[in-house]
């Protein structure tokens, strides 16, 4: 190999041979430190011909276990291929391995993985973000040219921002969820984690499209087979004051954000501060709807067909014991929360109200997006915290304020690295109208051209992984 794949865009990597082995060797070399992968592929010989990628371990691929970072699925062998897995295979994709995540994608740090946290390639003491933290760490350290994650409330975009890569959550319904283990079905969406927005578009051209196995996929065909131009001139961008003035926003992160906003302005885009009042209720709404759906989605893991089946005297105690042993703390917390809010007595007070708030919020966001091309805000209020630093779950929940609105309204949203604060990456987030995915990616390319996080069009890898 004459070219170093770490300096290549995905389209070039796809055209090369033997890149699988190159990345696999890197995985073998560095994964002990990063703990990005839970399983590494055992493909051999001809089966390795094709381009490599990493898959979050809540997406099924025959020949691998799909653990969801949970004890209860520790030994669950995938009985079928997810639609995205199948689509990538058809295009020549070869699975490098399955990446770590917060258990059932519930969390923002991978600390909720039953198999221990992954490390941030920029500082091994820190979390990579989550829940798709393993995928983010793998791409950010150059262990995979791209990875797939799943984004329910920011699980692709937040770890991308904390690891200094690109994380794209498509419009809900563009990518099939068939074979993605459900967390909150009405919010879950698979998205690419890459080193530039052009790569994200290239991945989307392979994985998006209507799927007869997922009734929520749309028949609309968007063409991601494009060469992004990166025009910012003439775009109208809105910065919600509720997000800019969020008390939890770190001053360093805010400063970096405002500076990139200035750069964007100078490129000829209009940026205005506007108000989206309902954003204040985004976190509350999300933490009612997502746990409610999760409590139902996770009911199937009852210890009979999944989990170790701890011997018990009757069915009820069998279920109780196995779920007690099989699920971690955060998963239990959300199941309890969701069970409570769906109960007949509290349904109207919580779940029904959350559905109303959701539709109000979607309405407000759509109205803003009628007037502006994109909404612009920081991806996360803080840089990646240290492992174990945050113990209060609520602190993590509140940090989702920037990413949640896109899920609640089903909008496309992308996080791009925009420089460093305290030597750690921070990201900016662009969110667009439903189905504006292609123009969103194009605008993202424009922001990338201004960002100090890129070299030759690709996100910079921390030096220690490029030796």
């Amino acid at each position: 190999m004459t070219k170093n794949p770490l300096n290549l865009r995905l389209s070039e990597i796809i055209s090369l041979e033997d890149t699988f082995e190159f990345y696999r060797e890197r995985v073998m070399k560095y994964n002990d430190e990063l703990k990005a992968f839970l399983q590494v592929s055992t493909l051999s010989g001809d089966k390795r011909q094709g381009f490599p990628y990493a898959l979050k371990d809540n997406i099924l691929a025959v020949g691998t276990r799909t653990t969801c970072g949970s004890r209860i699925l520790e030994n669950y062998e995938s009985p079928y291929d997810a639609t995205v897995t199948r689509k990538l295979a058809v295009r020549g994709g070869k699975l490098l391995g399955k990446t770590n995540l917060d258990e059932f994608a519930m969390g923002s740090s991978t600390e909720n993985s039953a198999f221990g946290p992954s490390r941030n390639p920029w500082d091994l003491e820190r979390i990579p973000g989550g829940s798709s933290g393993g995928s983010a760490a793998a791409v950010a350290a150059g262990l995979a040219p791209f990875a797939l994650g799943s984004d329910t409330g920011g699980s692709v975009r937040q770890p991308a921002s904390m690891c200094g890569i690109v994380g794209f959550k498509p419009t809900y319904g563009l990518v099939s969820r068939y074979g993605l283990v459900a967390f909150a079905s009405s919010l879950d969406q698979i998205g690419p984690m890459t080193r530039c927005s052009q790569d994200a578009a290239d991945v989307m051209s392979m994985i998006s499209g209507h799927d007869s196995n997922d009734s929520n996929t749309v028949r609309k065909e968007l063409s991601f087979d494009v060469s992004l131009k990166g025009y910012l001139k003439g775009l109208k961008l809105a910065v919600p004051s509720e997000m800019l003035n969020y008390p939890g926003l770190d001053s360093g992160v805010k400063e970096r954000f405002l500076s990139i906003v200035e750069d964007i302005r100078r490129s000829g885009a209009e940026v205005e501060e506007i108000s989206i009042p309902s954003v204040e209720y985004a976190v509350a709404t999300y933490y009612l709807i997502a746990p409610a759906e999760a409590s139902s989605n996770l009911a199937r893991y009852e210890g009979i067909r999944f989990g170790p089946r701890v011997p018990s005297e009757d069915y009820e105690s069998l279920t109780n014991k196995n779920r007690d042993i099989g699920f971690g703390k955060e998963v239990k917390r959300r199941i309890l929360l969701g069970t409570f809010t769906l109960s007949a007595t509290y349904y109207d007070a919580y779940y029904r109200k959350a559905l109303k708030t959701r539709s109000v919020m979607a309405g407000e966001l759509n109205r803003v997006l009628d007037e502006y091309d994109f909404i612009l805000n920081p991806s996360s209020p803080v840089i990646a915290p240290k492992i174990g630093e945050i113990t209060d779950p609520l602190t993590y929940y509140l940090m989702d304020i920037y990413t949640i609105p896109a899920n609640v309204a089903g909008l496309p949203s992308i996080s791009l690295p925009a420089g460093l604060v305290d030597e750690m990456p921070v990201g900016v987030l662009l969110t667009g109208r439903r189905f504006s995915d292609v123009s969103l990616l194009d605008a993202a390319k424009g922001v990338e051209d201004l960002s100090p996080s890129y070299r030759s069009g690709l996100t910079v890898l921390p030096e220690r992984w490029t030796e």
């Binding site: 009734s215 139902s296 009911a299 067909r305 009820e316 279920t319 007949a344 349904y347």
Partner: protein, 480 residues
């Protein structure tokens, strides 16, 4: 008199080719356990439901037949509860917005015709089946097996208003519902096989206007038991009311073996099913076009058929109702009636001999294999006086068994009616010689003795003599 108030919740399995939300076959009754399953209906992680369009069409057919409003927008919900035969931990159903509402059926009981209102019809999926070792239920069983074949088999649930007034009415209503679903071709209507299931709610109001608690009876698995189980409850509630008390508000189960109901759980112990909209399925939108197309293609419904049979074939209502309760029998009747041009006789024979043979030998009407032409031949043999009605009935089972025509059988067995005067005269002469005192009695004016001689002749000719001819000849010869 106490007043009885009954409402029914009926589950009907739909006869679609595939299950409600995956492409496994839906007709699973006779299959080996766990042979009609896939990742979707066994609730594998990551799988999603995809709605079978036929299920929607069948539900709309049922809704239209029962005069319901078809909701152009309905929504699927999840009903959450834990049980080993429910692999996803929830059942997909329609709780908040069902596909059909506010219908009715007319119930005919003798001369009375009453409207029984249908509150709603909704689509849902069936659960699997369990086999327990040592006990009837999971509690205390030493081991339990799960068969997931039935998971995802499509159902419609039909809920009536509490408009039924007696256990017998409840049974008649269930039969009407079965006939209706069968006529539509959407359900086999077989209660014994669980294709049609009924839960009944019953309460009573005494003469003073005091109402009892409502009791729900589950696991009723035949039409007869609908009536029996509700009679048992009616009796139990009456007794409680007359002693000044009341029954508990609870769910009871009908025991097929002991022919009584027993308590399953009190209403306080009921599950909280935590219903919420199914996020994996879009809202179900049906077009006016589709509804109109289905309405235009509805087959003839039982009550329409009854009216037509009464008019077209001049049948009494009873005949029309019996014949039209089964689509195959009804069309068989029509073929026979049209071939023989003798509708009433055709009806008599089908309701009598054909149905008897079907019951005795457990045959379907098709398996009886008596062609309309055979009936035509049989009727002609009787008309021409070649055989008596009695002989015709005697040989009928042979027409079924041997696939031979009636004429062949009559000829082979020498059963042709004796019309020859000389044969009858010879037999009569012998009878008169054998019993001269009877002859005297007749001549003395005892007309009744005639029957004795007719009987004697019939016996001597093994029933083959033409009875009216015997009568005529006996009268003439005895007078001489």
């Amino acid at each position: 008199m106490n007043k009885t108030v009954i409402g029914l919740e009926i589950h009907a399995q739909l006869r679609t080719d595939t299950k409600a939300f995956c492409s496994c076959r839906a007709d699973v009754f006779d299959l080996e356990p766990n042979t009609a399953i896939c990742p979707v209906c066994t609730g594998q992680p990551g799988t999603l439901p995809v709605l079978n369009k036929r299920v929607v069409e069948f539900a709309i057919m049922a809704g239209l037949a029962m005069n319901c409003t078809i909701n152009k927008r309905s929504v699927f919900d999840r009903k959450n509860y834990f049980y080993p035969d429910l692999p996803k931990g929830y059942q997909i159903t329609q709780y908040f917005f069902p596909i059909a509402e506010n219908g009715y059926l007319y119930l005919e009981d003798g001369d009375e015709k009453r409207k029984i209102r249908i509150r709603r019809i909704h689509i849902e999926e069936d659960a699997g089946k369990m086999i327990h070792q040592g006990t009837d239920s999971i509690t205390g069983s030493s081991g339990s097996y799960v068969d997931l074949n039935r998971c995802g088999v499509p159902l419609i649930e039909i809920v009536t208003e509490p408009d039924l007034r007696s256990p017998a009415e409840a049974r008649i209503f269930m039969e009407l519902l079965r006939d209706t679903l069968r006529a539509l071709g959407v359900c086999s209507g077989d209660m014994e096989k669980g294709a049609l299931r009924c839960d009944a709610n019953i309460s009573m109001v005494d003469e003073a206007g005091r109402s009892s608690n409502r009791v729900e009876v589950k696991n009723i698995n035949s039409f007869k038991f609908v009536e029996k189980a509700l009679e048992f409850e009616q009796e139990r509630i009456s007794r409680a009311l007359s002693s000044g008390g009341d029954v508990a508000k609870e769910t009871r189960s009908w025991s097929f073996s002991s022919k009584e109901t027993f308590s399953m759980r009190s209403k306080e112990e009921e599950n909280d099913y935590r219903y919420f909209p199914e996020p994996d399925l879009p809202k179900l939108i049906v077009s006016e076009d589709l509804i109109e197309r289905i309405a235009g293609n509805l087959p003839e419904l039982p009550w329409e058929k009854i009216e037509r049979f009464m008019k077209q074939y001049s049948l009494p209502r009873y005949d029309a109702a019996v014949l039209s309760s089964d689509g195959e029998i009804a069309s068989y009747f029509e073929e026979v009636a049209q071939t023989t041009r003798r509708p009433k006789e055709s009806s008599n024979w089908i309701m009598g001999e054909v149905m008897r043979v079907m019951n005795e030998r457990e045959l379907t009407v098709e398996e009886v294999k008596v062609s309309p032409e055979h009936f035509k031949e049989l009727f002609e043999l009787i008309d021409e006086g070649k055989i008596s009605n009695k002989i015709a009935k005697d040989i009928f089972p042979l027409v079924v068994e041997g696939r031979k025509s009636p004429l062949e059988i009559v000829k082979e067995k020498g059963l042709e009616q004796i019309d020859d005067d000389r044969v009858i005269e010879d037999a009569l002469r012998k009878a008169m010689t054998d019993n001269p005192s009877a002859v005297e009695q007749f001549r003395a004016g005892k007309e009744g003795v005639l029957g004795y001689f007719v009987g004697a002749v019939m016996k001597a000719t093994r029933g083959k003599a033409n009875p009216s001819k015997v009568n005529e000849i006996a009268r003439r010869m005895l007078k001489d």
